[in-house]
């Protein structure tokens, strides 16, 4: 019949075509590309820089008295201090007002210059300054004394950025599932394309799989960009296994995809789907520990917060990325996400309507 048969390869099959058209449609919408790929980065940068950890501040010391004896104390070698010289009255005034942490006076006693501290008993910095200067002077007088070795704590996994990035990954997976799948489906329904598709031999399975696969491709790109950039710029790492991390990303993505499908199963207007989306997402934005730990909420809310899917995803991502835990220790979180997926997917497929 047809001298020019078309179908030759799997790329001309329905699933491949559905995925392909969604991908190119997406790349032709610069706004969508911005919100999906650059907005999360922008958020990571601005929050990461605003809340970056600063080293402990130097203690401010005011020196009073004979400057020759100050030199003898070898204060240039004492680290962690900022020194200034003032008259006695001015220095004590600064101490009273909290502008300096301690005043070190060189006083003539029995024909020799002796140190004397002026401190503010209400401020711990004051006591700290005295203690550390005292140690410095003690070492000076007894060259045989050796400082006790000291190791600084590895801050990796404990900084705010390490807390933030898994949270951002979590909300991106949530947004991707709800907007990318839920809104996309409602959009197809409003435009009557869903009905038009229903009038072809295409299978529902292929349509939903096509949307899901194209979404996973966007999301994978998102995760790689966000993770790669935060590794390069902030040194954020995955301390646990990369495989475990991928399992969590896929499970989380699938969980929110199912919720998105449920949200979109019946909605026939953009307004109604917007409303439901916000209803679903807002509580999780607030309670699931994206920007600050969910543990700050009252104890009585904890059981509810723990069973939110985003809490489970964020907590488990942090456990793998920052604490290097393995999946076997995250049974509860995995169960929470699995249950949400099963229940919402089951409901969505039951309630789904073409028109």
């Amino acid at each position: 019949m047809n001298p020019n048969p078309w179908k030759k390869s799997w790329t001309s099959g329905p699933l491949a075509q559905l995925v392909y058209t969604r991908l190119i449609e997406f790349t032709r919408e610069p706004q969508a590309v911005f919100w999906v790929y650059f907005f999360p980065l922008l958020m990571a940068f601005s929050l990461g820089i605003a809340f970056r950890e600063k080293p402990a501040e130097n203690l401010k010391i005011c020196l009073v008295g004979n400057s020759l004896s100050h030199a003898k104390w070898n204060l240039d070698n004492a680290s962690g201090f900022v020194f200034s010289n003032e008259s006695r009255e001015v220095a004590l005034g600064l101490l009273r007002r909290g502008r300096v942490d301690a005043v070190l006076e060189s006083r003539l006693e029995n024909g020799e210059n002796q140190p004397l501290f002026h401190t503010d008993p209400t401020r711990s910095e004051s006591a700290l300054a005295k203690a550390r200067l005292e140690t410095h002077l003690a070492y000076l007088n007894q060259p045989t004394l050796k400082p006790i070795p000291e190791l600084f704590l590895d801050l990796g996994g404990l900084r705010y950025i390490d807390f933030l990035i898994p949270g951002l990954l979590g909300i991106n997976l949530m947004g991707g599932g709800l907007w990318g799948v839920g809104y996309a489906l409602v959009d197809l329904r409003v435009r009557k394309l869903l009905k038009r598709f229903a009038a072809t031999p295409m299978l529902v399975r292929d349509l939903l799989l096509g949307i899901a696969i194209s979404r996973f491709i966007f999301t994978a790109g998102q995760v790689v960009i966000l993770l790669g950039t935060s590794w390069l710029v902030f040194g954020v790492q995955i301390r646990g296994s990369f495989f475990d991390f991928c399992v969590l990303v896929i499970l989380g993505g699938f969980c929110f995809l199912s919720i998105g499908l449920l949200v979109a199963s019946r909605a026939t207007k953009y307004e109604s789907v917007n409303g439901i989306m916000n209803l679903v997402m807002l509580p999780m934005y607030v309670f699931s520990g994206v920007f600050f730990s969910a543990e700050r909420f009252p104890e009585m809310l904890a059981p509810i917060i723990r069973i939110l899917p985003l809490t489970a995803l964020n907590d488990s991502l942090r456990a793998v990325m920052n604490e290097g835990r393995s999946l076997s220790l995250l049974g509860f979180e995995i169960m929470v996400m699995g249950l949400w997926t099963a229940v919402t997917m089951g409901l969505a497929l039951r309630l789904f309507r073409w028109r």
Partner: protein, 320 residues
């Protein structure tokens, strides 16, 4: 009219559709039809008459409240997958993705069918070769409608369902769409089309069902319907001066009815325009009257509709 079931492309019996609600809306109230293979069958009616619902019941997109539909000898419930392969559909309003090109769109739809035409072939069939790589969003209304038609044709259907395919198009685009429909029919295809344009129905359809308020109120070929329900040809004569006594013309022509509309205007109804017109002219001359204008009006499907319902096709139907 009886059609051998072997030759019927569509057969439906006492089809009804009631949308639940308060009060429930009876969109289709018992429609029975037989559509022959190879025919272009039109459903003509005003907006809200139930045309789209009727079409969607036959397309298997809606489930009838009662009654049965058989398409190409099969039912949607049992052989839905097979029927989807054999039918092509154009909905009244589908917004295809604006960010896809014509070729990408056709290729997507082609991928859904077991046996599809080559996308390029279909694009040339709807004369959009030069727009093949244009985005849908950049096309005119007529071009978009041709893409929609291409999507309906790409699965090489035997039966085409078209819901108001030319609504909102300019005259030239409408003619292009008509040509494509006629080409499809010439290739042996069957078409079921809804429209509220009588010129479209007259031009395309061999058989018509006039639908009003969910029911078929008349069915037949356009010629048959006009002859049956359209009334007679009218002749309107304007004289320069107030005319003579109306009786002057009666003995001269096959005039069935005569009335005086104004002091110098007459309206005549005749069964044969060709016979009557020369006689009207001759009679006027012999009566010493100067004719200013003569208008004739042959009955159309619009007159059929008005004659049957007392309303015009383009009027909105009152009530639910």
């Amino acid at each position: 009219m009886y059609i051998n079931p072997m030759n019927a492309a569509i057969e439906c019996n006492n089809l009804t559709k009631t949308y639940p609600g308060k009060p429930p809306v009876e969109a289709v109230k018992g429609i029975s039809l037989q559509i022959r293979r190879g025919e272009c069958f039109g459903i003509l009616g005003p907006n809200g008459a139930g045309k789209t619902t009727t079409l969607e019941l036959m397309e298997g997109l809606l489930i009838p409240t009662s009654g049965s539909v058989k398409v190409l000898g099969k039912t949607w419930q049992k052989d839905g997958g097979w029927l989807r392969e054999k039918t092509g559909i154009s909905l009244q309003e589908t917004k295809l993705s604006e960010e896809l090109t014509v070729l990408e769109t056709i290729r997507l739809f082609a991928s859904f069918y077991e046996d599809s035409a080559h996308p390029q072939d279909i694009i040339s069939q709807v004369s959009l070769e030069s727009k093949s790589s244009s985005l849908i969003g950049k096309l005119s209304g007529g071009q978009k409608q041709r893409v929609a038609l291409a999507c309906a044709l790409v699965g090489k259907p035997e039966l085409l369902f078209l819901d108001e395919p030319t609504t909102g198009l300019d005259p030239q685009s409408r003619r292009q769409v008509w040509e494509m429909i006629q080409k499809f029919q010439a290739g042996g295809g069957t078409i079921l089309i809804t429209t509220h344009y009588m010129d479209e129905a007259e031009k395309l359809c061999g058989e018509l069902a006039i639908v009003d308020q969910g029911k078929i109120i008349a069915q037949g070929s356009p010629g048959h319907l006009i002859k049956e329900f359209g009334g007679q040809t009218r002749i309107e004569v304007d004289f320069l001066e107030p005319g003579p006594d109306p009786d002057w013309i009666l003995p001269h022509a096959e005039i069935s009815q005569l009335c005086e509309v104004g002091p110098n205007r007459f309206l005549l109804q005749t069964s044969s325009l060709i016979d009557s017109l020369p006689k009207v002219l001759a009679a006027a001359t012999s009566a010493g009257q100067s004719i200013q204008t003569i208008r004739t009006h042959q009955p159309t499907l619009e007159d059929v509709f008005v004659g049957l319902t007392g309303r015009h096709l383009r009027d909105e139907v009152a009530g639910p």
